[in-house]
């Protein structure tokens, strides 16, 4: 019997992705384990974003996108008949660039709850406060909840995006290079938050910063040229890589 930690929440089997005639990813297979941080590293254009956007079916909006292979979420195969709206309520996502709606800070955080049908203001207040506290943003924005988020720094905006994503209480939270636009101090905040969130949900983390992946993740996969070169425990990937290319990448000689 496997413990909760060992169970895989997402299984990818033989995944191939094309945009038109260009093959972006070829025959990927791996398992994402529950309540762990799984990082994907690799140079630019190695297919990290394409891969993680596939997990919550965000690629469906990309024209000429097509894939073969199997994606299993909690044992269910994701196919054409999958309810993508319900799926995305369980698999949240945070992007590289913080994209906030043109509402107040409060409404931005409450958005996820509102579309899920929560309308009572006391209930919304608790949800907003709880999630802003989780991200450590509450003290900074407590007095400006009704103002637009444009005045916040880019790092605060990203934390606000994470708070917004946490409102829907996702089982899996995907991060697509969340620190790509942040300065080092803000990056540390996000990384600490990612490590804390591990207790609540499964995290998938794409980054092109090798040290960052080493700091935050339990499992790591190295993507290069659309192939998953190596996938395993982070420690093993960074200290004892099996593949020559992985070794070259983690030591900084490749990419």
């Amino acid at each position: 019997m496997l413990s909760e930690k060992e169970q895989s929440i997402l299984s990818i089997r033989n995944l191939n992705i094309w945009y038109g005639d260009n093959q972006i990813l070829s025959s990927l297979s791996f398992d994402v384990q529950q309540k762990r941080v799984t990082a994907f590293i690799g140079p630019a254009n190695s297919g990290k974003s394409t891969l993680i956007r596939c997990l919550n079916r965000l690629n469906d909006f990309t024209p000429n996108f097509r894939f073969t292979g199997e994606i299993l979420f909690k044992g269910t195969l994701l196919g054409a008949s999958t309810d993508t709206t319900a799926l995305r309520k369980q698999i949240g996502m945070v992007f590289r660039k913080p994209t906030l709606f043109r509402h107040s800070i409060y409404e931005n955080v409450a958005y996820g709850a509102r579309i899920a049908g929560v309308n009572q203001s006391e209930h919304l207040d608790t949800i907003v406060e709880k999630n802003l506290r989780k991200t450590g943003l509450w003290d900074e924005v407590e007095d400006i909840l009704d103002e637009t988020p444009e005045q916040l720094s880019i790092g605060q905006q990203q934390l606000l995006c994470i708070a917004r994503a946490l409102v829907i209480e996702p089982e899996v939270l995907i991060f697509d290079e969340p620190c790509g636009e942040l300065d080092p101090i803000e990056t540390v905040k996000v990384e600490t938050l990612v490590r804390d969130l591990k207790n609540d949900c499964t995290l998938i983390f794409a980054t092109n910063k090798r040290r960052q992946a080493a700091r935050v993740s339990d499992m790591a996969g190295f993507l290069y040229g659309g192939e998953l070169i190596e996938f395993g425990a982070t420690e093993k990937i960074f200290t004892n890589p099996q593949d020559n290319r992985t070794e070259q990448y983690v030591t900084g000689r490749l990419g």
Partner: protein, 272 residues
């Protein structure tokens, strides 16, 4: 999923544009023939007096112009939403309609006015024939009301051809102006397509959709003003009569056009 190489896409685009061109060609040739056959046998019917009364009833009524163009605009906005949000970009029906729209928006509005008269008289002739075939005395008194219905159809058809394409084009542009990250940010929170549309896309695109609608209506009024003006100058010797209507229509057209430009200008300075 629809997948296509850029080359195949280009090919499909060219084929559909040619089909659109041929369809419109057939429509216009057909209308031309309808006009010729409508005029030749009924020389006495299409007299100046009838032409005048037809025109005055065609485009002289502010409320008819306003309501029909409004309906055409709303219908155009609905069409644009369906094309842009529900059909994939590679869908051939969407491509075909976009090609038709591109051709129709390029035609000057006065040409559509002539089209309206063509449609009206081809209908008037069939009506007259129908009345001749069943010469009932009470039908004679009913002619004006039947002309009213043909007026309605002629105007509705013209506005569908003139106002709708421009509305479809401007609405599609407005919807496209909403950046993908905003949509994706809402989608990843589990919003349905309808929720993304009503809570994110429409509030952002609303100003531009409104501006596009105003521009289309301005076009309708400009056409009505031109037709009314031309026939006033041609058939009446003294100023007055329909020229007041001409000035009214022209001012409405100008007002709407300036209003729409102001909206666009404010919108771009807001988001910049």
């Amino acid at each position: 999923m629809n997948s296509m190489t850029p080359r195949a896409e280009r090919k499909q685009k060219i084929v559909l544009q040619s089909i659109a061109f041929i369809i419109l060609g057939i429509v216009f040739v057909g209308l031309w023939h309808a006009l010729k056959s409508a005029r030749a046998p009924s020389g006495q019917v299409v007299s100046e007096a009838i032409l005048l009364s037809a025109l005055s009833s065609l485009f002289n009524n502010l409320y008819i112009v306003l309501s029909i163009s409004l309906v055409a605009i709303l219908f155009g906005i609905a069409c644009a939403f369906y094309l842009e949000e529900w059909l994939p970009a590679t869908n051939w029906i969407r491509r075909l309609i976009e090609s038709l729209v591109a051709i129709l928006t390029g035609i000057p509005s006065l040409a559509y006015g002539i089209l309206a008269i063509l449609i009206f008289f081809s209908y008037a002739d069939t009506l007259k024939k129908a009345i001749e075939a069943f010469p009932l005395p009470e039908n004679i008194g009913a002619i004006p009301s039947q002309i009213e219905t043909t007026v309605f159809y002629a105007e509705a058809l013209t506005f569908v051809l003139m106002v709708m394409p421009l509305t479809i084009k401007t609405t599609q542009e407005a919807l496209r102006s909403v950046a993908t990250p905003i949509r994706e940010a809402a989608y990843v929170l589990g919003a349905s397509q309808w929720q993304v549309l009503t809570r994110q896309v429409v509030p952002i695109a609303f100003t531009r959709i409104l501006a596009g609608g105003c521009r289309s209506m301005s076009r309708a009024f400009a056409m009505a003003a031109l037709l009314v003006g031309i026939y006033t100058w041609h058939y009446t010797t003294e100023p007055g009569g329909m020229s007041g209507r001409f000035i009214l229509f022209l001012s409405v057209a100008l007002f709407l056009s300036i209003f729409s430009s102001t909206l666009i200008w404010r919108h771009t300075s807001d988001s910049a």
